[in-house]
Symmetry: C2
Subunit: 108 residues, 2 copies
Amino acid sequence: MPEIIFINSFEVPVGRDEDFLLMWKQIDDYMRGKPGYRWRRLHRSLDPEARLRYVNVAGWESAEHFDAAHDETFRHLQSQPGWVEFPAHPSLYTVVQEDGSPTGSAVS
Amino acid sequence: MPEIIFINSFEVPVGRDEDFLLMWKQIDDYMRGKPGYRWRRLHRSLDPEARLRYVNVAGWESAEHFDAAHDETFRHLQSQPGWVEFPAHPSLYTVVQEDGSPTGSAVS
């Protein structure tokens, strides 16, 4: 069964990176311990003017595992008032086109 | 030297997928032939209500290769009027946090 990809893009004002990362890591640490979690990569834009300055891309075993991981503790972490400052655009995705592999050693 | 990641998130109205993919493939085919291109994955949201219904994530050898690939032919393809319907949020990124690898066979 192909894995499911969670992508969450964040609007983070320049200079607020440290606070964003502290909050993001709280949730990230929690979710990485959940059944069905596989991998994740957090990307930061090179351009401070970009709207979506941070993009998290993560692999999960299934949508069911992903949904089950969003329990009461997750909701508590996510409901912290500090998140108001960092609008997020989360969704689950499937890969519809693939060429090479994201390892840095792909065929060229 | 670590590779650079290009992420482009697209707002695609439900039902317009086919037209979007035709236009996206024109540019994708062109860019995949450029020096420095390594890999890419196009993701489609499972949720039709998601704002960013398509997200393309691609690896390039360097920002210089990426910039050089955006030549006159690219600009011609990108300036086609059909793109007005599909707002895009492109930026170059670096990976700032990494756990496991996006291959489906990551350590868990």
